[in-house]
Symmetry: C2
Subunit: 404 residues, 2 copies
């Protein structure tokens, strides 16, 4: 019997071996850069806003002249003009003067406050202000939002729509991001056929190529399918070699059967600079998982069962992607109450799929399915972890559900 690794040992191995993975970067337009990882610190080379800007519709004036104003004794101003939004005003505000201004307008020289339209009356070229205004009120000062020289986005920061907005605000049209992680996908097994073939009696359709391919999309990686390889060492070795040249990570699914598992292991070991890091993990599902390093690249031998295969992608492959891209674990957890009890007994850390029900409280219903059931996945919202030392979880217990 070989000694299986625990899942946290696997996490440590992935970190140690791949934390210095040197992913190339590329320049893309800011709208294409969304959900990508920034490859350098981005420094603002302008102030935002780069002039004192009104944040409301109203009147620009000097607030000192409103300090005594109240409902009975309004402060009175002469209206000297209107600030055209998008234009620098060609007048200044002198004592006793005010100017119309709109949201986004350039605050005229000498004005230090914008009084909102709602709090004024304009009549016969005169402005009546009924409440004291404060210095700087309704003005976004030059550089108050972003200062020239500020680092606005850090290297390794993920570019969500908000960050794309920040880049747009400082006038960037393009940004340097890390290239997408390239993932080669190979299905193995003599019983696996493609959806193009006729289903004869002892065959099953390839599922893992498609769940892995689309899961890569979910992680903004760049997947490529290498088709189905029968249980033939030479063919597998050649495909693996090709896939490794063209990708950063290669996923070979199908190794639940001893023969296929050994074949995958042998094909990996036959390559130059290969090192098997993990050969079996003490978890359920996912025990027959292989992880290897070939040169600087990663190869995973994933279980053939579709449920186990997709689980191991989410658990280990996604983890490796986060390590390569210097990302913290993405937050996708929900706290729920167990709907019914479950018993576990494998002596390994078990992951139990659950369906979430949203009502006054969130209930997690455990899903059962024989090993190899694909329909189980169809109903699962996520999974919970039951440690090897436990024998189950009771109905009513509070659990943490990791969403898939």
């Amino acid at each position: 019997m070989k000694v299986l690794k625990t899942y946290f040992e696997v996490f440590e191995i992935l970190k140690d071996e791949f934390c210095n993975f040197n992913l190339q970067s590329e320049k893309v337009s800011i709208q294409e850069a969304v959900f990508r990882i920034c490859a350098q610190d981005i420094i603002a080379d302008i102030d935002v806003p780069h002039f004192d800007k009104s944040t409301v519709d109203g009147y620009a004036l000097r607030c000192e002249e409103t300090f005594e104003a109240n409902d009975e004794n309004p402060a009175v101003f002469e209206i000297v003009g209107e600030v055209k939004t998008g234009k620098v005003p060609d007048f200044q505000i002198q004592k006793g003067q005010a100017a119309r201004i709109f949201t986004g307008g350039y605050v005229p020289q000498n004005a230090n406050s914008i009084v909102m339209l709602e709090n004024t009356i304009e009549e016969d070229g005169k402005l009546y202000v009924f409440k004291p205004a404060k210095p700087g009120e309704n003005i976004l000062k030059k550089g108050e939002d972003i200062k020239r020289g500020d680092i606005v986005i850090k290297k390794y920061q993920k570019l969500e729509p908000a960050q794309i907005g920040v880049l747009a605000a400082i006038g960037k049209k393009e940004v340097e991001v890390f290239k997408k992680i390239r993932v080669g996908i190979v299905s193995t097994g003599d019983e696996i056929i493609s959806q193009d073939e006729k289903l004869d009696s002892a065959k099953i359709y390839d599922v893992n190529s498609f769940t892995l391919f689309t899961s890569c999309y979910k992680e903004y990686a760049l997947p490529k399918m290498y088709g189905i390889v029968k249980d033939d060492f030479e063919v597998l070795k050649d495909i693996l070699f090709k896939a490794l040249q063209e990708n950063d990570i290669v996923l070979i699914s199908g190794g639940s059967s001893v023969g296929t598992y050994d074949n995958t292991l042998k094909a990996i070991e036959s390559l130059k600079d290969s090192k098997v890091l993990v050969d079996g993990v003490s978890i359920k599902p996912g025990k027959p998982t292989i992880i290897a390093k070939v040169g600087i690249k990663a190869v995973f031998g994933l279980p053939g069962h579709p449920v186990s295969c997709l689980f191991i992608f989410n658990f280990f492959v996604k983890k490796l992607m986060d390590i390569i891209l210097h990302q913290q674990d993405t937050f996708r957890k929900v706290v729920a109450k167990m709907k019914t009890s479950i018993a576990t007994s494998s002596g390994r850390t078990e992951f139990v799929f659950v369906k979430l029900h949203f009502g006054d409280e969130i209930l997690a219903e455990p899903l059962y399915g024989k090993s190899g059931s694909i329909n189980l996945l169809n109903n699962a919202s996520g999974y919970i972890r039951v440690d090897a030392t436990k024998t189950g979880i009771r109905a009513g217990d509070i659990v943490e559900v990791i969403l898939i």
Copy 2:
């Protein structure tokens, strides 16, 4: 003073007006279909598996003959062959016989149980079994996972990787999905310029086109930018007309200023079959929001402030997309504890942006920024709702954070 709508009134209006929006469908390959919405019930036209399948490596035999077996008195079988995975075995299992079989193998006729390799010894063509086996053990029966005739995926179900796997398992190469929602995006304002232009003194770069465009990607919609329109009624009307012909939803941002707001309203009203549904909402941020129906399509007038604009997209536009696609609210909430107190006083329902800190407990730190600050978004993890009747939230209170 006009009466503002509450946000739940707006939700009801969106539901009433757009729940029958008739989005066309299209056929795409299953790998392209990921994250799309299924446009019809999918019925399995095969059983999965479509033969009795072994789920382990082991031996196929008749379990009745093992019922008396124990460590001292193993049941003994003659090994009559090996099932080649992917092939229908050309032999049957008779009394006293067993056959080697691997994960995924076709269970030979008459066998009713698979004994795992680990629980046996094979020696000189004989198999020794030391534990009783159960009927059906380690066999996935024909149709046990998916039955021919079952509805495996329902109309309006979102196709995540797991559902793509189910489609692959039943041999589908293509699937009918709803077309992506087409969204036209227009920025307005005399002060707005594109990143291609030189930033002169009273101008600011267009931000909203980019945050809206990339937010559409996040929702798997199909955005198209129509550029920047100065505050000119005729030009806005023409662009709006064109954008409405080419899209399902049109977003016009920039209407925080009274003039721009009125312009947008006037442009909408000038179109045939137009109906303004919402003209101002009692929330903060996002008060100057316009929602209209033109024919069967939707037009949003969004605030010009980048933070308000993106917030209203997430709050109302995303809601409309969910209604059109018959989706439940996507679950993106986290329960957290307030790090510091906040005071609200607008008399409207306020949404306060927060940054989440993950430690032993999740803390929500309120973020402040003057109206119009784009950098605020850069730091926000999500927002919390403070009802109009409340005056704030105290440090230590438990809040629900809607992630952005």
